[in-house]
């Protein structure tokens, strides 16, 4: 049921030309996938996806639309046939690839044999906190998380460098707006 809702949302994103609706549908898509994460036992991930995807990402995209335009032009030069062919071939290759993937929900899958049992059994004594996701995130895989925090930090610097400063005049015949310059952004 959730899966079919996700597919419908994704198809609607392809069809619609109104970017405002597209961004809103993306928020719905994130919320649906968050509920799917709860079904799949990943409560931490669901939490993050709901707050990030349905909340902050939608606000950022709406902010971009407010700064640019909210209407997509009808594609004239783009022929849909070649992209469709590429997508179909890629999808067929991926579906062929799934024939080697172990079945969904099987406890004997290779992914469940390597480090996961050790984390689940020993983290209570070694780390002493109940949430295994937190202990793996911050302690066992501390290097990863440090790196990812640094990526977020770098992305913020990039955004601030790109659009954080005072606005310069566009090349087209837009009048200058000196009274609205930000002195500090």
């Amino acid at each position: 049921m959730l899966l079919s809702l996700l597919v419908v949302t994704a198809l609607a994103v392809i069809r619609l030309r109104d970017l405002f609706a597209v961004v809103m549908l993306f928020g719905i898509y994130s919320l649906l996938s968050a509920s799917l994460f709860v079904v799949l036992d990943a409560v931490d991930v669901a939490f993050t996806e709901a707050s990030v995807g349905a909340g902050v990402a939608t606000v950022f995209m709406l902010g971009t639309l407010a700064l640019t335009t909210s209407r997509e032009k009808t594609p004239g030069a783009h022929k849909p046939l070649l992209p469709l062919l590429v997508v179909l071939v890629t999808g067929a290759a991926l579906i062929y690839g799934t024939s080697d993937i172990p079945h969904y929900g099987d406890p004997g899958n290779p992914i469940h044999q390597h480090v996961a049992p050790r984390y689940l059994e020993d983290s209570a004594e070694e780390i002493g906190i109940p949430n295994v996701v937190s202990s793996v995130l911050a302690s066992y895989r501390g290097y990863d998380t440090l790196g990812e925090t640094t990526v977020v930090f770098t992305a913020a610097i990039g955004v601030l460098l790109l659009i954080g400063g005072a606005r310069r005049r566009r090349r087209s015949e837009e009048p200058p707006r000196p009274d609205r310059e930000e002195e500090d952004a």
């Binding site: 939490f47 700064l67 004594e125 949430n131 911050a138 925090t149 913020a156 659009i163």
Partner: protein, 139 residues
């Protein structure tokens, strides 16, 4: 948005709850679902709501951009600092067991708490400053 009283009132009611919930998620992440990443985003979402309803200038007065710039780097610094502190106390980088001389499990607790705090500070400041950048651009 200045003239609509209902959103302003609702925001006033919701904002403390959102920020409190963010702090709960931050410090209760060891026991239930939650942690620095989620808490940072929720905290930022609260400020985004405030800025949307009350205007960017009021939000800038409460959370000035220089404070955000400090916060962005402070979080990473706390994280790396915990790692270096572990090294100075004789362990490996990011080995929290040595932070408490009596019980390694307590050290792990402390380390995870500090590290999650660093992550939370960075993520919250990054999200709010990105929002400021987008919102300040359109004026």
């Amino acid at each position: 948005m200045q003239q609509y009283s209902v959103p302003r009132l609702i925001t006033k009611l919701l904002l403390p709850l959102i920020l409190l919930f963010a702090l709960y998620v931050q410090f209760h992440g060891d026991f239930g679902p939650g942690g620095g990443f989620q808490a940072g985003v929720i905290f930022a979402a609260g400020f985004v709501l405030y800025a949307l309803v009350y205007g960017l200038d009021n939000a800038r007065r409460i959370m000035p951009p220089w404070l955000l710039r400090v916060g962005v780097s402070l979080g990473v610094l706390i994280y790396a600092g915990v790692g270096v502190a572990g090294m100075l106390l004789g362990g490996a980088f990011l080995d929290y067991g040595v932070l408490d001389s009596h019980d390694p499990v307590h050290g792990q607790h402390l380390g995870i708490l500090l590290v999650e705090l660093g992550v939370g500070i960075t993520v919250a400041s990054v999200m709010i400053s990105i929002f400021y950048a987008f919102a300040g651009r359109g004026r």
